[in-house]
Symmetry: C2
Subunit: 303 residues, 2 copies
């Protein structure tokens, strides 16, 4: 068996299999961040994101953008759980032929993002590597009543996404995105959100995670998909690197979100469909009003 | 300026420069792990360690050993702070030509180490990469009164190392070492240790960190250096990858440690010298009883 046959999520399932965890783990492998016991009123959140040259970015990219993205991927994970980022450590693998100026560029991007989202840089590891590699591990904190999981979607929920999807790589947005920390905070503080995650691997693949974890199905409408400039439906569904929020809320709450969220956040939240019974999987009503079964296909590193 | 000119520690200083941190950080960049506010009686510890193929190990190594080491480097860091490891996340960059069997081997080593040292695997990231890359970020917990820092060495302290040093790479010990968690626990619970760290980059370079952080000097004796089988003095001083504990305690306490520690732990702790006034740097009395100024030279990834 090779990697292509089992794919990225097969791999994740393989590492998650048979691991023993103790009572301190509220949610382990399988959400945007792990949820861990902390204090009477709060949980710790823990997440990590690895970026590799020639896979996630090219050497010719602006090094400050690479550093920015390395931090913002994890900020996005913490935000999607309803939490606030607090501390980070960063491991960096540096090719020996990088200039100090380039490295300073990466560091400036890391520090800029950490400062912008109030995360403390508290340590790291620096090693040599053939390809520039950055892995950020981040701890966040969330009030227990605010925690948002992938498993919380309920039958009849409206499905929302923030911002616009698709064309993130070609447009360069994948390196310079603003993680939806503020938007998540507004959602958590003002609306009853049932489930939430960030879209990193593409809407269709990521929505599939919510469906699996919540044991439900979904119907979405092509005509409602908020597409970024230059994005096709295919790109909006499956390209990934959007780092928008994907969330569900009851229909009653959906009305309040549609009426109030954009005014409060300056960011659009678009209702793209609804949660239906399991067994239907993920169905899209296309422009011709025909139902299409959407294969659960987001970005897979090993496909 | 290139990487070779500024070196690994120049790089670390560059990222540590001008970072803003808030009151929740007790110790940030510069010790084995960051020390963070947690509860009334405890601190959180946070560390990360990145291993890269062809830098830290070869593909032909036993994959279970690679996974074992990835976890144990961080366990060693947490132990050296006087703490207990609690949760980890692991980012893995996998070349597409790895077999699933090889990857399962890595995972089995990760799980074995996590199980052995009671660390919960709570998440991770899996991406494709040209070279196999594993980065473990680990959270530990330490009682406030037990915390051991690099900055605690005092004038007149005896300097100790556990186990034996040198020849770690050639002997394969660098992949299969047992982090000194039990030994650190025994030290913390039974003796007054002033400063502690683990030896990952080589005794001379790592002792130098204690000297700099504690603003002191040190004299060590070649004849007392506990050398591993096949190790030269040079290798014991500078090769690195030993993952032994380096610690200091008052002379009075040193006597108690010498008399009791080995019986309690089954591990040797050898007194190799003493802490002297700053300004002397690091001096070694060689076999011919001549003082030699030891340059602060452990393993440098970019030298």
């Amino acid at each position: 068996m090779n990697l292509k046959q089992i794919g990225e999520f097969g791999l994740i399932n393989r590492i998650a299999k048979d691991i023993k965890t103790d009572k301190s783990i509220i949610v382990g492998v399988g959400d945007d961040a792990a949820v861990l016991e902390y204090s009477r009123k709060e949980y710790l959140l823990l997440t990590c994101d690895m970026l590799v040259e020639d896979v996630h970015f090219l050497r010719k990219a602006n090094p400050a953008d690479i550093g920015w993205k390395a931090v913002c991927c994890s900020v996005s994970d913490i935000a999607a759980m309803g939490g606030e980022p607090k501390w980070l450590v960063v491991s960096i693998g540096l090719p020996k032929n990088l200039t100090v100026k380039y490295i300073d560029g990466i560091y400036s991007g890391i520090k800029k993002a950490a400062s912008k989202f109030n995360v403390n840089i508290v340590g790291g590891d620096t090693v040599s590597a053939a390809k520039l590699t950055i892995d950020v591990a981040m701890i966040g904190i969330v009030r227990k009543q605010d925690i948002k999981l992938r498993s919380g979607a309920r039958l009849g929920d409206a499905i929302f996404v923030t911002g616009a999807l698709g064309n993130a790589v070609k447009s360069g947005r994948h390196l310079r995105f603003i993680p939806r920390l503020k938007e998540a905070e507004i959602l958590v503080n003002n609306f009853k959100v049932h489930s939430m995650m960030d879209i990193s691997d593409g809407l269709s693949g990521d929505l599939r995670h919510i469906l699996e974890m919540s044991k439900v199905g979904a119907i979405i409408y092509e005509k409602y998909l908020p597409k970024a400039k230059g994005a096709t439906t295919e790109s909006a569904l499956a390209e990934g690197e959007d780092f928008e929020l994907l969330f569900t809320a009851s229909k009653k709450e959906a009305r309040r979100i549609i009426e109030n969220f954009q005014r409060m956040s300056n960011t659009k939240a678009t209702c793209i469909g609804e949660i239906i019974k399991p067994g239907f999987g993920l169905i899209m009503i296309d422009k011709n009003k025909r139902p299409v079964q959407i294969k659960p296909k987001g970005y897979d590193h090993f496909a």
